[in-house]
């Protein structure tokens, strides 16, 4: 099925009789790209699914207030970004642990996951990404893996382009250091 434009999806969504159909199309259209981002942030497949479900439920509840001058994907991505960060913070608070303990848990999840198909270097990279603070991890994931433009990232995160460039630069330096350290060990 060919993808519908944002305007076509929204027009269908605003009609009561095609509301669910339009939303279903929207989920199908954007689920894979959003899943990829959330998975890199959260790592665990079950938690990724929970976060993604919350993203779409929030989208359903807020779609009536969506402004058509914005991009639907950016708006969904912003919800996914906020939900992922909230999930990681909740996990930290729920476990009464610090950032390092959360990393430890995510690393264990990654190592034991049968849904991770990467080789050793991919595993090292993913471990290094998980060491980044939540917001920096989001910035790195959006720029490095998703190759988003800074302007789009700014819309998603609500952070200035300059601050995002800085954050990405710092994240790259940290990851390079961790990947290099791992290689030399």
């Amino acid at each position: 099925m060919s993808e519908l434009s944002d305007q076509e999806l929204l027009a269908l969504f605003r009609k009561e009789e095609s509301r669910h159909y339009a939303f279903n199309l929207m989920v199908r259209q954007y689920q894979q790209r959003l899943h990829s981002f959330v998975r890199r942030m959260v790592t665990d497949p079950d938690e990724t699914k929970d976060v993604l479900q919350n993203v779409f439920i929030k989208a359903w509840n807020g779609l009536d207030r969506f402004r058509e001058d914005a991009q639907l994907y950016s708006w969904l991505y912003r919800i996914a970004h906020n939900e992922s960060i909230s999930h990681l913070k909740r996990m930290r608070r729920g476990l009464f642990v610090n950032h390092d303990a959360v990393i430890e848990r995510l690393t264990t999840t990654l190592d034991s996951s049968e849904h991770f198909s990467g080789d050793a270097i991919q595993r090292k990279l993913q471990r290094a990404v998980m060491k980044l603070p939540e917001k920096q991890r989001a910035v790195f994931t959006m720029k490095y893996f998703e190759q988003m433009k800074y302007e789009e990232m700014s819309t998603v995160t609500g952070t200035s382009v300059g601050a995002l460039k800085s954050s990405f630069h710092i994240a790259v330096k940290k990851i390079e250091q961790w990947v290099t350290d791992d290689r030399t060990k």
Binding site: H20, F23, N24, V27, R28, Q31, Q32, H35, S36, R39, R40, P45, K49, L52, Q53, F56, I57, W60, N61, H115, F116, S117, G118, D119, I121, Q122, R123, L125, Q126, K143, Y144, F145, G162, K165, S166, F168, H169, V172, K173, I175, E176, V179, T180, R183
Partner: protein
């Protein structure tokens, strides 16, 4: 140092990172993306029902304590049957002469402390009169002493 970073910058800044192929190493279970939209729709149906009940639970959670507070307030401040203090009765209602005669002196004095009693009431004995005082009293009241002696 510039923070502008493109691919060339990445190779210069992070050569080891730049050499790692950008692939998605995460797998999803078979049929995940076919099932997921249905799961979302199912959740939305639950969400609708849940939203309705949640609204009523929230209303009840607000209304019940308020109701309990109102009932408690009414109970605490409700008007009680009036029992005015004795001194208020004495000052606000005057007794007729007949009512005053009905009152027993002992009853009136019963609640008083000994030091509050009038001097003549402190002793149960009648005040003693001299013979000439008694004679003057009988003369004043016109009492016939002969009748008095016969009646004793």
């Amino acid at each position: 140092m510039s923070t502008q970073l493109d691919n060339d910058d990445l190779e210069r800044l992070a050569p080891n990172l730049a050499r790692i192929p950008k692939v998605d190493p995460f797998r999803v279970e078979e049929g995940f993306f076919e099932r997921f939209p249905h799961q979302v729709q199912t959740l939305l149906a639950h969400e609708k029902r849940g939203a309705w009940s949640t609204v009523w639970v929230r209303r009840a959670a607000f209304a019940l304590p308020l109701l309990a507070l109102l009932v408690g307030g009414w109970w605490f401040f409700r008007p009680l049957p009036q029992h005015p203090p004795a001194d208020q009765v004495a000052t606000t209602e005057s007794l007729s002469t007949e009512e005053l005669y009905i009152l027993e002196e002992d009853g009136l004095l019963a609640d008083l402390a000994p030091e509050e009693l009038p001097e003549h009431a402190a002793s149960s004995e009648a005040p003693a009169l001299e013979a000439d005082e008694l004679a003057a009293y009988y003369e004043l009241t016109g009492t016939d002493l002969t009748d008095l002696i016969e009646n004793l």
